[in-house]
Each structure stands twice: as structure tokens, then as C-alpha cells.
Symmetry: C2
Subunit: 330 residues, 2 copies
DNA sequence: GGACCTTATGCAAACGATTGTAGTGCGCTA
DNA sequence: TAGCGCACTACAATCGTTTGCATAAGGTCC
């Protein structure tokens, strides 16, 4: 099955290839006689013509594709983000090139830039990041998602960590808790830091003591260990705000191993609300971040930048709170 | 920052662009004088030349990219699959175009074919599928992952459902169970059917009764309902083999709501072993499918096809069994 | 020392589109 | 009827590569 090219269409419509091109392109269509447009369109339709994106891209130096760099594709967070990105981009004719940052973020980005993507969406930024600075210098349209970089003005789409943390604390306070601890995530990641600061501030506003212990990572085991340290130091704690869900599940384990019950003895909140949290025992209350929506907004922001429209440097996504048994005292 | 093109390199090395091209391409390098190769390579290095994939693709009609179609990016299964695909393809210089089958599988595939991907990996196949048949006719290199289509000979990489199901049943029998039920997945998906048949066969081999109830989908709620029907019909059941993890978790719910205990009263096994199953209460025994590896194998198979090498029509991935408390009787 | 092969390079045509510019034919005006 | 503008379309260059073919220089053979 041979591919139909523009000149096939032109020949069939008995016009020059350039005329065919103009007839097919919305923008330039106005300069060609309506009757001719009709003929070209009919021929294209009849032959089943599909434009060749590579050839077009070569000429127009636009590939109609965007690159997405993900630190760890295994992380269930990124599925929804990618889904959201895809959903926003596909209708505009853009394709999505996915790359893992595995060998290295720099290599991943270089590879995508080599491929002449029109823009980039990065989910990998550390709080400061040379790769992103370079990208900003070269004026490569870039949007960050779920991370914020302070040093350069690349727009980022992030959850409102301050609001989210406050939702969790407010809820716990409402349930009668006053001695509330926080298991913080790594401070070199923007979400780790932001949630920690938000916790400090909120507790300060309430006039309660600020009790924090750092987990070495956003994983179950570090959460388990950090919770152990915190409860040993401050046995009076009745509620724990975890910096993410996995840390929260680690806290579950520690609380249990101390012979206490999650929900009644110690309330625990997670953050992100990944799938299956409602299936835990007890189901875990968590700040819910709509990652699909986050992906959509990142894609929309990138589209705006590609259009030359100016965009807010930081787009906040409002989280909600999914209240479940882990904070309801059985 | 202007892009460096091949003719820049050629000029710098004081050779014709065609010579530069030959010097840079492994395959044709042998025809150009070693000293010249040296000069060209040096110039390319010095200028930081990066070839333009679109231009190359236009000429060679290879895009060095493959398309991946995923039915539902939200499903945590696909993260690891994509990770595996990416891991195998990236070192070979291929990029991965991800598309959701959301608007429609046909549209997704057409879009990718328009973009001139060199090959396709589909995770979306129903048991019979016209889109795939068309692809096979057009000889577009295609590999299926986690699904098998009977009607055409497109290679598929799938978990060995027969083995996996047998692992689960064997384990349950070993634990002393004889009255074992199966909650089957939808029969129009190959995994649903295969696991059901494997269960029938295995139970038949053991000489036990075959007790099966169909769930309307691979989700928690259908699993919960189907388990309810099964236990009502056959109250003597002491163990349940679920067609996937979520169905298994649905079974958890039903068992609990009947006032019985998972693990001691009724053993339950899941299938796939998605993340966080070990964090359930009780942790769930499940047949573990290595989806990352599955993605890798799909990518490797596609690479083989692209190389013109012939490949097995069906590649089986051996599952293992992750034994946890849900089958250990507390 | 001319025919001939080998080796290394240059030339130019592709690949399939887009787009600035030139040209054609027509009707209109003076 | 010559001149002009207008509407339309054709020509050709271009994007950055790859690649068949021509060409040039140098070496070998008889």
C-alpha cells in the first residue's frame, strides 16, 4: 500500500502541488479559488491523503510533538499525569514523547531536544536544576509539573501544598487533636519542603507545638522509621500528618507495632491519595491531588506558551481532603 | 542559538556534505579515508553537531520512533510496562510515542501511523480486533503486550496465565484447601478467558469441583458482587482464586461483610501483584507478573521484527507467586 | 605508456511538504 | 486599445539528510 503524497492529490485535482498545499491549509485557503479548494479537498478525501508530519516539520521547523520527562515511570503518580497531558495535547494535534529520566535527566532532555520537540514538560526538577536553567536560556518552551524551581522563571503547575497541608491539620484539629506530628519528606524536593513549611506555619497559627521528623524518602520504610523516632521522642502525639501516602502507610506500621490502633489511638493522614488507599485497613484519610487535572493544566500551559501567550509563573491546583476511617477514631 | 547542520560540519572539515554524512554514519564510514573521517568527526564534535532526525527520517523513511497505545493510562499496570519498553528502546536510539486509546483505538493507531512510527506496541487488543488485522495486512511491525489475538499472527508478549493460575491453585491445595472458587474476569479479554480455562483445567486435574463466578470487570465492585454470588451458591468454599488483584480486594470486602476472616476462614489470591498489595490487611497473596520485564520483552520483540528477524508468535512470561498472609491462615 | 581498476570524493537528486515571488489571464478604466 | 490592478495559480527554493552515480587521482599490469 503506497503512501499518498501531496503531489498525488495535486495531480488528481489537476493543480500544482503548491496550490494543493494552500487549499488544504486552513490559513492559506483564502487565496485559492473556492471551486479549486473544493476540487482539491475532494481529491484528498478520495485518495485518503494524510500529510507527512516529518516533511512538514522539516519545512516549518515544528514537529507538533512535545516531550515529557518522568523521573520514575513505576511511580503510580505519573500514569494520571501522562493521561492528563495526553488528553489536552492530542486534540491539538500534538503527540507525546515519553522519556524516563533513568540514565539521566540531561540525556533525556537532550534526546528530546534533538528530536525537535516543540516543548517540554518536566516532572523531574530538583529544587534547583541546571538542566532547566539551560533550557530557559535557550528559550525552549518548558513547563514543570508537580515541582517548582526557584532559580529560573519556568512556569510550574503544582498542587497547593500549603492549602493541602492546612486541610489535613484543620480536619485533625476539628477532630479534637492538639498534639500533631509531621513526617516530612526530603527537603531537596519542593513538595517535601513546602509541606513541611506549611505544617510549621499552620501549627504556629493554631498555637500548637511543631513536631516534625524527617523521612529519608517518600517511601514506606523511611516513613516507618521516622514515625518510630517521632513517637519515641513525643509519645503524646495523637495524630500524624504524613508528607505523602507511602510515608503514611509506614506510619501505620509503626503505630501498629507499638500495639496501638490507627484511627482510634493515632490518627494518620496521607498526601496525594493514590489508588487503593480506600482499601487499606483502616481506609486512609488523605489530601487528594488531582494528578490527571495537573497533567491537563501543564499541557494547557505549554500550549499557551507555544502560542506565544504569556502564562502565570506558577499555577496552583487546589487539593481536597478525602476523609476516611484513619482519622475518624473508629 | 543556531542549530548546527551537517553542512556546517562539512564546511568546517573542508569536505562536501555528502562526505561528511558518510563519515558520520557507521555503515558508510568505510568508504571514506580514515584521515578524513577523523577530520569530520573532530569538526562535528567541536561544533556540537546533532543530526536532525526529521530530515533523516524524511530521507530514509524511518523515524526511529515507536508508538505505544495504552487503553487506560490511569491503570497502574501500564507504568511499569512503559518503563520496560522505554528501557529497551532508548539505548537503540528509538523514541517512544505514547497514546491513549481514549477517543478510540483506531484513531490512536492512525495517528501514530501518520507520524510514521517504525513500529507499534499495543496493549489494547480485544480478543479479536479489526484494527490489528488491518495493521497485519499492511505489514506494519506490531507487537501486542498483555493481550493475545487469535485471528492474526501478530506476536504477543503475555504472562503465562496457565502457569500463574496453577501456581495459585497448587499453593492453595498445599495449604489444605479442596473447595476452591474462581472469580473470573470478562471473557472478551484474553487474560480473563485464559485464567478461567487454566483454573478449570487445573481443578479438573486435581479432581476437584470447578466453581466459577464471573465478574463484570476487573474492578473491586464487580469482584465484590461476584464473590457474593459465589459464596451464596457455594457456602463451603474456603479459598478463592481471583482473576486479578482488584477482584481479589472485592472478595476481601464480601468475605468481611459476611463476618468471616480473610486468611483464616477464606483464603484469597490475587493476580498481577500490583503495588501496595503487601500493605493490605491482611497482605494479599498474589501471582506476580513482572510488567516491567513484559514491556522490555515487547520492545525487544519489536526491535527484532524491525531488524527483519523472525520472532515467536507468542512469548510467554513466567509468573511467580508472592505468598502473603491472605493464604496463610493467620 | 595506455587501458584499467581502486579508492576517495564531489555532484545532484531525492524524501514531502511550505512559501516567497513571478507569471497568467481577465475585466476595468481612461 | 493600451495600461493597470486583481485574483488566481505555477514555479522554484528551501528545510537537513542520504545515496546512486560521476569524476578525479593514483596505482597496477602488460
Amino acid at each position: 500500500m503506497e503512501r499518498i503524497t501531496l503531489s498525488d492529490v495535486a495531480e488528481a485535482a489537476d493543480v500544482h502541488v503548491s496550490t494543493a498545499s494552500r487549499a488544504l491549509n486552513e490559513a492559506s485557503r483564502s487565496v485559492v479559488k473556492p471551486a479549486t479548494v473544493e476540487r482539491v479537498l475532494a481529491a484528498a478525501e478520495r485518495l485518503g491523503y494524510r500529510p507527512h508530519p516529518l516533511a512538514r516539520g522539516l519545512r516549518t521547523s515544528r514537529s507538533l510533538s512535545v516531550g515529557v520527562v518522568i523521573p520514575d515511570l513505576q511511580n503510580p503518580l505519573f500514569g494520571p499525569i501522562i493521561a492528563g497531558i495526553e488528553q489536552s495535547l492530542a486534540p491539538e494535534g500534538y503527540s507525546v514523547l515519553i522519556t524516563s529520566a533513568r540514565p539521566g535527566e540531561k540525556e533525556a532532555v537532550e534526546n528530546l531536544v534533538d528530536r525537535r520537540v516543540d516543548g517540554l514538560i518536566l516532572a523531574t526538577a530538583q529544587r534547583s536544576d541546571q538542566v532547566i536553567e539551560r533550557l530557559a536560556e535557550q528559550k525552549t518552551p518548558t513547563v514543570l509539573v508537580n515541582r517548582h524551581v526557584e532559580s529560573v522563571d519556568v512556569p510550574s503547575v503544582v498542587g497547593d501544598d500549603h492549602l493541602g497541608t492546612r486541610l489535613a491539620v484543620d480536619h485533625l484539629v476539628e477532630m479534637g487533636h492538639t498534639t500533631i506530628g509531621h513526617i516530612a519528606g526530603p527537603a531537596h524536593l519542593s513538595t517535601g519542603l513546602a509541606r513541611r513549611q506549611a505544617f510549621e506555619q499552620t501549627m504556629h497559627d493554631y498555637g500548637y507545638r511543631v513536631l516534625i521528623e524527617d523521612a529519608d524518602g517518600f517511601q514506606v520504610a523511611p516513613g516507618e522509621q521516622a514515625t518510630g523516632r517521632l513517637l519515641e521522642r513525643e509519645p503524646g502525639i495523637t495524630a500524624i500528618v504524613a508528607a505523602n501516602d507511602l510515608i503514611g502507610l509506614g506510619a501505620y506500621r509503626t503505630v501498629r507495632s507499638l500495639g496501638r490502633t490507627v484511627g482510634t489511638d493515632v490518627a494518620i493522614t496521607g498526601y496525594n491519595d493514590v489508588a487503593m488507599l480506600d482499601l487499606m485497613e483502616p481506609p486512609m484519610t488523605a489530601v487528594r491531588v488531582n494528578f490527571r487535572r495537573m497533567g491537563q493544566m501543564a499541557a494547557d500551559t505549554l500550549l499557551a506558551r507555544l502560542d506565544g501567550r504569556s502564562v502565570d509563573p506558577i499555577i496552583l491546583l487546589e487539593p481536597t481532603l478525602s476523609i476516611r476511617a484513619s482519622t475518624k477514631g473508629g
